[in-house]
Symmetry: C2
């Protein structure tokens, strides 16, 4: 059986942004396949009764400090998105629409994360002008991305990923599954790596 780990994410999550970089490194080191599973975090929250950390003011304030410390360790810049919590469903649907072209999809995933959290004044993904700016800067076909983000089959795929995540015990993002073993948070990717390494042994 080929080794693989699934990465459940939504671009709205700043810790998913951090996990994005770490997950690629884990995949490289372990030679396991990184399976992208974009989902709708709001739907997961609603289904599980979970709440974003920012709903507790003291936790929200702490999170900002913690995110900066974690980003420094990951080695990437992190700027809080001015439109947080952004509506990212167009981006996740378009991502799912690119599944047939993994190289293009992976480039798109990377661009989405960077334009949400890796640059100052991150984009509002629900604003067509912002989406166009990103597409132009990164060399994506804006019209194709819009079409994919509106395609009913990609809406269905997003819903299916979200439902599957909840059914498999996911309650937030980023989440990782190695087989049926769930790992939550960018700060558990070393455990993911350990699980993949144990499988290889």
């Amino acid at each position: 059986m080929a080794r693989r780990f699934e990465f459940f994410f939504d671009y709205v999550s700043p810790t998913a942004y951090l996990a994005h970089y770490l997950a690629r490194e884990v995949a490289e080191r372990t030679r396991a396949e990184l399976v992208y599973r974009p989902f709708f975090l709001g739907g997961v929250m609603q289904a599980t009764g979970n709440r974003p950390p920012g709903t507790v003011p003291a936790k929200g304030a702490y999170m900002q400090r913690d995110l900066q410390r974690c980003a420094k360790r990951v080695g990437v810049p992190l700027f809080m998105n001015p439109y947080f919590p952004m509506n990212t469903r167009g981006l996740t649907r378009a991502t799912l629409g690119l599944d047939d072209d993994p190289a293009l999809r992976d480039r798109f995933i990377d661009a989405c994360f960077r334009h949400c959290y890796g640059i100052e004044d991150g984009i509002d993904p629900a604003n067509p002008a912002d989406l166009k700016t990103m597409c132009d800067a990164e060399g994506f076909d804006f019209d194709q991305i819009v079409a994919l983000s509106e395609a009913p089959e990609n809406k269905d795929k997003l819903r299916a990923n979200t439902d599957e995540a909840v059914a498999r015990g996911v309650f937030g993002a980023p989440s990782f599954l190695v087989g049926d073993e769930l790992f939550f948070g960018h700060d558990r990717l070393d455990y993911v790596e350990e699980a993949l390494t144990e499988q290889a042994a």
Copy 2:
């Protein structure tokens, strides 16, 4: 200025149990003073609007797996306490009452954590028979511990620690403060260590 870090904890928290071991190691490696700040986690939750992770069923289920993985890495056994969420106020008050005798207090802290989470069938700290069992096994004077746990000045100290924690941004346990810099979770003790090491440089 002497380097120090404050450890805000309540014996009810299984991650505080893990942090207890890691914090002592950090203190040893950095030669910084570990300042014990027992508090009442329930009061912090109420004051901040935070909720225990177990109130979200999927998160509670995951936590059990995650705790076992983390305990394995820390290198200590962890058994979920059958009386969770235990009433630990007697233990925290007694701990505060031992502040004048740091060696005895540190032994008591260690015993409380172990009897709550380090042994199968952990104690119910609110049950005098269980408390006596622990005291007898660990060589503490049961009558003294009970007296300390009921002393009004220790109730005041517990309330003061809890209020101070909230005022300084704490929203859960375990929490660490290096000066005014807050770190939450046993899995942030490497950041605590980094902050202490930077102070020394």
